[in-house]
Amino acid sequence: MLETLPLSLDAVRDVAKECFDDGWRLVTMSANQIDDAHFDVIYHYDKDLTMKHYRLTVPKETVVPSISPVYFAALLVENEIRDQFGICFSDIVLDFGGALYLEEEVRAMPFCKVSVAQKQS
C-alpha cells in the first residue's frame, strides 16, 4: 500500500533540511490519530512527480519541532494540525494559536477521537 519511511522526533528538522537541499518540495503533512494516546504525522515530499512519505508517530502532548523555518509553506498545515488535533509545534513562523479556523466556542480539537468520546459520555 502506502510505503512510508520511519522518522524519529529528533530527526524531523534534519530530514526536512536534507530534503530541502536535495530539491524536494513539501507537498503537505497529514495527521491521524492511531489510538487513544498516539498520533501519526505523515510528511509528504515530492520531486519531479515522485513522492516519498515520512511517518512520525508521537504520543499525545508531544511538542513536535516545526519545519516552517525550513519550508515556509508548512506554516498553514502545522497550524491546521494544531487546530484539529492539538499537536503543538515549536517555533512556527506565524502562529495562529489554535485559531486558524475555529472560534472560541468550538476550540475542542475536533479530530481528537478521545475528546469527542469524552464529550459524548
Binding site: Y101, L102, E103, E105, V106
Partner: protein, 147 residues
C-alpha cells in the same frame, strides 16, 4: 404620486449584495452567472453592488459557521430597510450535506430572518431569478401594492 414612484422604484431596482457564507462556490458561481450575458439579471434592474449599505436584497449562499455568523449578522444590520434576504442552495436553506459537521451552525435562518428559500445543489441561475422575483412579490404585498 411621489410615494407611488418610490414604491415602483423599489420593485424595479432591487440592488443585491452577495455574501458567501461558507458555500462550496457552486451557488456563488451560479449567482455570478446570473449577471452574465446569458441570464443578465440587469434586465430587472438588479446590480451586484458589493456594499451592504447600498443593497436592498441580501443573497446568502452556503452554510453558516461559527466564524462567519458574526459577519453575516453584521452585514444584515448594515443594510438600510426595507430589505429582503434570500437563502440560496441546500446549504443556505438547511445546511445541506454539511449540517452535521462540527463547525456548521446550520441554515441562514438560524442567524437572520430569511424571506425566500431557493433549493438546489447548486441552485440554477433560473432558480435564483425565481427567488429574486419571489422576494419582490413579498415586498409588493408588504407595500400593499396589488400586482
Amino acid at each position: 404620486m411621489f410615494g407611488n414612484m418610490i414604491n415602483k422604484g423599489r420593485i424595479k431596482s432591487p440592488w443585491v449584495v452577495h455574501f458567501d457564507c461558507g458555500s462550496c462556490n457552486g451557488c456563488d458561481i451560479e449567482v455570478l452567472a446570473c449577471l452574465t450575458p446569458i441570464y443578465d439579471i440587469e434586465r430587472f434592474g438588479i446590480i451586484n453592488v458589493g456594499n451592504p449599505k447600498h443593497a436592498d436584497v441580501l443573497l446568502v449562499t452556503g452554510t453558516v459557521n461559527q466564524r462567519n455568523k458574526h459577519v453575516l449578522k453584521n452585514i444584515y444590520d448594515q443594510m438600510p430597510g426595507p430589505k429582503a434576504v434570500i437563502a440560496i442552495g441546500a446549504c443556505g436553506c438547511t445546511g445541506g450535506v454539511f449540517r452535521e459537521a462540527y463547525n456548521v451552525v446550520g441554515g441562514v435562518d438560524k442567524v437572520i430572518p430569511v424571506d425566500v428559500y431557493v433549493p438546489g445543489c447548486p441552485a440554477r441561475p433560473e432558480a435564483i431569478i425565481d427567488g429574486v422575483v419571489a422576494a419582490l412579490e413579498k415586498v409588493k404585498t408588504l407595500l400593499g401594492m396589488t400586482a
